[in-house]
Subunit: 340 residues, 2 copies
DNA sequence: TTGTACGCGTTATCAT
DNA sequence: ATGATAACGCGTACAA
């Protein structure tokens, strides 16, 4: 009674206000909300009904302080240069967020180039997050190195030789290997490989799949038709040009970006796909949908990788044991571009 | 001395630890860090030196609780369906994050369709953020309606008739108007308009610019060559088909997505750009770079819009007065596709 | 200029 | 099953 007008004026209720109004103690209210500790079913319902009616919501900062838990996770995104990489990272992010939301976690985003760890340090030092997702792995990754020096749980999307890293990835190796095997078994003779920067582990894995796919079929590697570290469209075009002088009858592209250029360049030269040259891509995105000819490719569920990464991270935060490596399914879509 | 080993064991220092080690009080340390309140320059330096050496960082949750401030802002992103919208929102996000980082704020991401306000409610109710950025405005926007009912500061990217909304936008209206004027002054006769959903204010503004651009030049509106609410590629193709039967000599596309389809369709039909038909787009992204013919378009600095949105929001959070409407510059790029 | 003491809103420990 | 009470770590009036 004596404090009723005070309660009216406050715009944000606290558990103490709730407790007073209900004639119980603050701890009882806390227990009713959290579900932890013993509490009578009747009082529990009474509290729940009241806070629902009055729209009471616990203050996240206070909870955070008391529990040493932020209910935030960070996702580290690369600075995306080209249109082709963007969908992957953005969709990953979306998937991670979906899982975070369901678990009452929020997703905090950090964009950095591959070298600057300052933003991470700030987050860790200030304890703004409970864990982190790395969306890209680099060789001698400075983020990994830093995060390992801290106690904070983290997962990385991608593949690594470092066996005590928790990673989530599509099975790029297995996918590429099976794709190459399939192409060869269908009668393709010479499969060339066009790839970008070998500083990214995903590219290393794809190339390894290509190599072992050939090997499995008893085909010898021909370094003359293998191009890696292609950095731009001009280099890709030049590589295609050179391949056309060989007996190559199929080009395996490391990703959509390269595939895009290959298809455009062949079209410009009036070279028929698949008659004169077959084309396949190790990654499928909507980019490939715009071509006159449908492209054989590996298809991965990008959103799923984000979801999985978040799930695994939340398990780690909860203190559960998690597998070091999670490999997600791939799908091989055989299309016109490799028709024999 | 008596507490030295306790200090060693703790992995996270507090201002009390720092205070004790330096023989000062906790409030002095607090003042040294925040810069608020009077403090001797010498002690200030002594504290700063110590915390730098010992790598002390204030606990964000505790600070948040004490100040009723989270140092977080949220950015509300739409569920992006197609490749064409993604760069805009992603780049906006990146711009916002850049400014946030510099101001020691973190960016929290929320993806929703245009209807579900649950994720926003949770954030606001739990006081996890100090403000919000809406990246898209809808007609009868439920987010706007909800946020207005709260006390939380927010800005919206886009344009609205609601004059007490704080908005940031490119000058879509002015840009389109000038583009149309320019085309007409160059000798184009009939400018058709191909647009998508008129439930988005950006589309409404662009169309208004088109209309007034014609009007300014004394050209009468011809509803027969205006298509809005085109929902997919098939509808765009059909519209182009119909336009080819009229005396239209220029197609103004509301965005890249539509422009993409228009260019492809004209190419398929073997119709020359710009000889038989000129084409321009109200928005430029890298998508347009892939065409054999360069496209006349409006160019906006997308990252800048994200930056600006964040700047304005931070000003609001700081309690400063901000302009209700911020319009960002556009650039008209005249290219081959409209050459006379 | 500096220190004291209390508040921020919750959770957790220990009684009862 | 429930209630006091003490943390959690920082900011800040107020006092000195």
């Amino acid at each position: 009674m004596e404090s009723s007008n005070k309660d009216q004026l406050k715009e944000n209720l606290t558990i103490h206000d709730v407790a007073k109004a209900l004639g119980v103690s603050a701890s009882t209210v806390s227990r009713a909300i959290s579900g932890k500790g013993r509490i009578g079913e009747e009082t529990r319902q009474r509290v729940l009904a009241y806070i629902s009616e009055k729209s009471f919501y616990p203050n996240a900062s206070a909870r955070s302080l008391a529990q040493s838990k932020t209910y935030n996770i960070a996702i580290i995104m690369p600075e995306v240069k080209d249109l082709v990489d963007m969908p992957f990272f953005h969709t990953c992010m979306h998937g991670a967020e979906e899982v975070a939301q369901v678990n009452d976690y929020d997703l905090l985003i950090v964009t950095t180039d591959g070298t600057n760890i300052k933003p991470l340090e700030r987050m860790v030092n200030n304890r703004k997050v409970d864990g982190m997702i790395l969306t890209r792995l680099y060789k001698d990754d400075v983020f990994v190195k830093y995060l390992k020096s801290t106690e904070i749980p983290f997962v990385a999307i991608g593949n690594s030789d470092d066996k005590d890293l928790v990673t989530i990835d599509h099975d790029n190796y297995g996918g590429c290997r099976e794709l190459v095997s399939l192409l060869l078994s269908k009668g393709v003779e010479k499969v060339a490989y066009l790839g970008g920067g070998m500083d990214q582990t995903v590219n290393i894995r794809r190339f390894a799949g290509y190599k072992d796919g050939l090997e499995n079929a008893g085909v010898k590697l021909d370094n003359g038709i293998i191009y890696t570290n292609l950095a731009n469209k001009i280099q890709v075009a030049k590589a295609v040009e050179e391949l056309l002088k060989t007996n190559t009858d199929c080009i395996l592209c490391q990703d959509d970006y390269i595939c895009d250029e290959v298809v455009h360049h062949l079209a410009e030269k009036g070279i028929s796909i698949p008659k004169r040259m077959k084309v396949a891509s190790c990654h499928h995105s909507k980019l490939l949908d715009n071509f006159p000819v449908t492209i054989t490719s590996l298809k991965f569920d990008t959103m799923e990788i984000g979801r999985k990464a978040c799930q695994v991270l939340l398990s780690m935060i909860a203190g559960d044991e998690v597998p070091k490596e999670t490999l997600l399914e791939y799908e091989i879509n055989l299309k016109e571009s490799t028709k024999m």
